[in-house]
């Protein structure tokens, strides 16, 4: 974390409205209808899940911090708001975003190491020549207008942990929810503190049934949220009956006094619910094959 979010390039240049983001993507489609018909790709969120899993593999091999992986995911999102994915080799973009994010989050890895590990993971898509990543880095920086500092929700979560007296299970679950939000468009749509508050609410309302969440919260939450998730917040406000348990009441009290945009928090929750729904249809094989066909047919790996 650095600098002030409210004055940051992230807030001024990389925060979209839902409409604006849809418009950007529609434009990309219109520009190259042929490629879009020729190379159908899964839902954006499916691709994000696939990318995130691949990045996690790369991160594990190099024991990289979660925060750098999160930054890399943001870079990929930003990059593909400016570039048609069907004109790129996503594996090269992935490796490069990872390489740059590591430098940015002060845990730099040597370019040779990154290329070596990427090559061992995706031998068909990464050339042994490190200068490809070097070139791609240059392009990535330029597409992001050299605006590289990313503010993440993790810090807000840590800061609110004491204030809201969150248990370690709740923090762990909220942390996983934050990890999951990178699989959606939320980082391009909302401020990090809104995401953090959403993650805390989700974690506190849906008591974690098992301890220790590292990675995704999906298995624990998908079912619970489907049952009552959509109306969760309305239910919280419902004063009938015995009312919500004191723990949740306390959180509601805090929220009411805070100036956090509740409407945005609700929207984020819904986005997360629908992510978990989509997730059930996720197929790694399908993503892999469609991407491979797209890259190989167009020789984008050369």
């Amino acid at each position: 974390m650095a600098a002030n979010y409210w004055a940051s390039t992230q807030r001024r240049h990389w925060l979209f409205t839902r409409e604006k983001l849809a418009e950007v993507r529609d434009k990309q489609r219109e520009k190259d209808m042929v490629a879009h018909t020729q190379f159908p790709l899964p839902d954006q969120r499916m691709l994000n899940i696939y990318f995130s899993q691949q990045l996690t593999k790369l991160g594990k091999k190099t024991s990289t911090r979660q925060q750098a992986l999160a930054t890399a995911q943001i870079y990929i999102k930003r990059y593909y708001t400016k570039n048609e994915i069907r004109h790129t080799n996503p594996y090269l973009v992935l490796a490069t975003a990872f390489y740059l994010a590591c430098k940015m989050e002060e845990c730099p890895q040597h370019i040779r190491l990154v290329v070596g590990e990427a090559r061992s993971l995706w031998p068909d898509f990464i050339a042994p020549d490190v200068s490809k990543v070097g070139e791609c880095e240059f392009s990535l920086i330029s597409e992001m207008s050299s605006q590289m500092i990313v503010h993440h929700p993790y810090r807000t979560l840590t800061e609110l942990q004491r204030e809201l007296a969150l248990t370690s299970d709740e923090v762990a679950l909220a942390w996983s929810v934050i990890n999951d939000h990178y699989l959606t468009d939320l980082p391009l749509l909302h401020a990090p503190h809104v995401i953090a508050v959403m993650a805390i609410i989700v974690a506190v309302v849906f008591k974690p049934s098992q301890a220790g969440f590292h990675g995704s919260a999906a298995p624990a939450l998908a079912g619970a949220m489907r049952e009552g998730g959509m109306n969760m917040l309305t239910a919280l406000g419902d004063k009938s009956g015995s009312g919500p348990p004191p723990r949740i009441q306390k959180l509601i009290g805090w929220l009411a006094e805070s100036e956090v945009d509740i409407r945005a928090v609700v929207e984020c929750t819904q986005e997360l619910v629908s992510l978990y729904e989509v997730w059930e249809q996720y197929s790694e094989k399908n993503c892999k094959e469609l991407l491979a066909r797209m890259v190989k047919t167009q020789h984008l790996d050369k």
């Binding site: 400016k82 080799n89 430098k103 070097g134 240059f138 207008s145």
Partner: protein
């Protein structure tokens, strides 16, 4: 961009226009031969668009003469095409030299932080663009009056306490702003303090800067040019705070007063012993926990130098006055926990006591600064110019006190 409550100082209205570089690289390296694709035409328009945007930025400036060249950058004088009287400095980072290894951390850090910071005492980054040979170009604020080192070293330049106070004030505000934004500069020294045409001091060279680490995460101790490096870094501390920069500020303060570097060690070890001689030997008594630092050297019990008090600073820096000596002492406290923070430094009564700081327009100046700017902007972080002070004269003009 962290906007300071004060002015924004871009030479052009659209300073934050997106710096579009050569975007086509990934695609150019990743696309198949030109004629083999059915959707090639649209790809070309796409590529042209991004290049066009970069060209627009590039076209805003005219490159003039070369000001300096270092190991990783060349600096040119430039000017706005629309207004030839407004100058900029264009720092071209030599990408090709290290292309195989990706962009250097220095370059990345510089762009990363200057993109976000906007303050009158921090060098402004107006634009970023790429040139034809695929080099990154940073369009920086033009600072034609050289740097503080140049003024300190030139015996013909006379300055007094009020001038020192004005310079230190501008430095302290710049450092405070960095820390307020959770950024450590980690290379504060006189030749990174550049001077604008109106006399304003600007903190430059963010090649070693970084964000505050998350609690308990380690940082490197191999930062800050040796003479300005605080004892905790010399002892190898991996967790430290903004007060590392405050120590450097203290050293700059001392140097401004003495006109030679106050503690100028030849090696890191020599630097530690010189600090001990000057300020006192760090012990568990005056600095709890110091002996646990990785490179701590147990002092010779027979040669313990007691921690220096106010008298020492007053004797050593008579031109600082008692209040100034007190401030300097609080900036050079051995134990980083007891050292003043940048914010506390700004709250010291020295600033409001007599003499008032000189107005920036009336500060002593010297010509030939453009060349110096070229040198300063091309140097790599942490480098010492060992010969810099060979002929430094101890000349001070206290008539202004």
């Amino acid at each position: 961009m962290a906007v300071s409550p004060l002015v924004s100082h871009s030479p052009s209205a659209a300073s934050s226009s997106p710096a579009k570089l050569r975007a086509a690289n990934v695609r150019s390296s990743a696309t198949k031969p030109e004629n083999a694709s059915s959707h090639q035409p649209s790809q070309n328009t796409d590529r042209e668009l991004t290049e066009q945007l970069n060209d627009e930025v590039r076209q805003k400036y005219v490159k003039d003469k070369r000001l300096g060249e270092g190991t990783y950058a060349v600096v040119f004088l430039g000017r706005l095409r629309t207004d030839p009287s407004s100058f900029v400095a264009i720092k071209k980072i030599k990408v090709n030299a290290e292309y195989k290894d990706g962009l250097s951390m220095d370059a990345i850090r510089e762009v990363k932080y200057l993109q976000e910071l906007s303050h009158p005492n921090i060098i402004a980054l107006h634009d970023v663009f790429s040139s034809k040979d695929q080099n990154l170009n940073l369009v920086l604020e033009y600072l034609p009056l050289g740097d503080l080192e140049m003024l300190i070293k030139d015996g013909n330049v006379h300055y007094g306490a009020a001038d020192v106070k004005a310079w230190m004030g501008m430095l302290a505000r710049g450092v405070w702003f960095c820390h307020e934004n959770f950024i450590l500069h980690r290379d504060i020294k006189p030749n990174n303090l550049l001077i604008a045409s109106d006399g304003e001091v600007k903190l430059a060279d963010f090649g070693l800067a970084r964000s505050f680490a998350d609690p308990y995460l380690n940082m490197t101790h191999q930062v800050i040019t040796r003479w300005y490096r605080p004892p905790e870094l010399l002892y190898g501390a991996r967790q430290y705070s903004g007060v590392v920069d405050v120590w450097s500020m203290g050293m700059v303060f001392a140097e401004l007063l003495l006109r030679v570097p106050f503690v100028a060690g030849n090696t890191d070890l020599d630097q530690i012993s010189k600090i001990c001689e000057a300020f006192g030997t760090p012990t568990e008594e005056n600095w709890p926990g110091v002996s646990k630092l990785p490179n701590y050297i147990a002092p010779d019990r027979n040669h313990l130098v007691p921690t220096q008090g106010r008298d020492f600073f007053l004797r050593q820096f008579p031109n600082a006055g008692p209040v100034g000596a007190d401030l300097l002492m609080s900036m050079c406290t051995l134990d980083p926990r007891k050292r003043k923070t940048a914010c506390e430094v700004l709250q010291h009564i020295w600033w409001t006591s007599e003499p008032r700081p000189t107005d920036k327009h009336d500060l002593p100046r010297k010509s030939g600064g453009t060349r110096k700017m070229g040198d300063d902007l091309t140097r790599r972080g942490g480098e010492i110019d060992e010969n810099a002070f060979k002929n430094a004269a101890r000349k001070l003009d206290f008539s202004a006190m």
